[in-house]
């Protein structure tokens, strides 16, 4: 299991060796620092904690700075953990992770926070069709319709689709192919779309369900 934290730069198109268009999302990935190595003995589970995005010292609390100093890492804004099945070997706090942990052609999962759409109605949020536009309708154009039967069962079933907060939520996109890796410029391009706005923080890790 490998992982890296990055910032979404935007989408563009590349061409593969056959001359076919590949839609890609460009991510400025890393450099990340290993901040802490967790093992079953000391923490109850195996993981490495990595950090991304150097910031001035004054941006962090003393507690955060102390935690990072222990690892010999610079002040970092974002920390994420990579869970591992086995205790990690050969990884020391302070190690640098660059974009070249991944290779071109490999499958990865990308985790980000989707764009927030606020309190959205049922048409936008769940793709309901709304009511008829004509034939004497009043206030029915984007209405959700029935929420269920009446006296029996006497309540709305849990999970019934309704209006509510849409987006601004953790979203994982699985099995995206890595189209390009440039460790020198800390760039990774993955085929397809990635959750979140431009400049949003995304976490890339090896695909969990790769076939």
């Amino acid at each position: 299991m490998k992982g890296i934290i990055g910032k979404k730069v935007g989408m563009t198109q590349l061409f593969d060796e056959n001359g076919a268009v590949v839609p890609v999302t460009v991510v400025e990935a890393g450099p990340c620092y290993v901040v802490q190595v967790k093992t079953e003995e000391t923490d109850g589970y195996n993981a490495i904690q990595i950090g991304y995005m150097e910031v001035p010292e004054r941006k962090l609390t003393k507690g955060q700075l102390g935690h990072l100093r222990k690892a010999g890492a610079p002040p970092l804004r974002y920390l994420r953990e990579i869970r591992l099945p086995e205790p990690p070997e050969g990884v020391q706090p302070g190690d640098v992770i660059k974009a070249d942990v991944f290779e071109e052609g490999q499958l990865v999962d990308v985790i980000g926070t989707s764009k927030g759409r606020g309190f959205a109605g049922v048409v936008k949020r769940h793709g309901f069709r709304g009511g008829p536009k004509t034939h004497g309708q009043s206030d029915r154009h984007r209405a959700p319709g029935s929420r269920g039967a009446g006296t029996t069962p006497g309540h709305t079933f849990p999970g019934t689709k309704g209006a509510g907060q849409m987006g601004n939520k953790r979203v994982t996109v699985q099995n995206l192919k890595v189209a390009l890796v440039d460790a020198e410029r800390n760039l990774i391009a993955v085929k397809g779309a990635v959750p979140g706005p431009r400049n949003g923080i995304v976490f890339i890790q090896s695909a969990k369900k790769a076939r």
Binding site: F15, V21, L180
Partner: protein, 120 residues
């Protein structure tokens, strides 16, 4: 394409494609892969549209009239290496960027006036 990082990733425009204009009559040589074989297919017609500007997805549309007056249009990318060569056979005087009106015309009506003095 505002970000400098993104701009640096922009693929190179296919150098085998000259500057085109709507109304140009062109011969497009396209590389086609069929299984293990590769061959060149030629498509000749009039450029009736170009879109995409400087984006890597930019394309141009070539229209020709095939057998029995059936119109055939093909869209080629400006940035893909699969276009082997483009020859400009004739340049025409046209007054709009998109020549979609040619789709409704046939035979004599679908002619374009040749450009005599090339402004470069």
């Amino acid at each position: 394409m505002t970000n400098a990082l993104m701009a640096s990733l922009k693929p190179e425009r296919n150098p085998n494609i000259p500057d085109l204009q709507p109304g140009d009559t062109v011969r497009v040589h396209q590389r086609i892969k069929e299984g293990r074989n590769e061959r060149i297919q030629v498509f000749q017609g009039v450029v009736i549209a170009m879109r995409g500007g400087n984006e890597p997805g930019a394309t141009f549309t070539v229209r020709r009239t095939g057998a029995h007056g059936v119109g055939v249009e093909r869209i080629f990318p400006f940035y893909s290496k699969n276009v082997e060569k483009v020859e400009v056979l004739r340049k025409a005087k046209v007054r709009r960027a998109k020549l979609y009106y040619l789709r409704e015309r046939q035979g004599k009506a679908a002619r374009l006036k040749e450009k005599r003095f090339l402004s470069v």
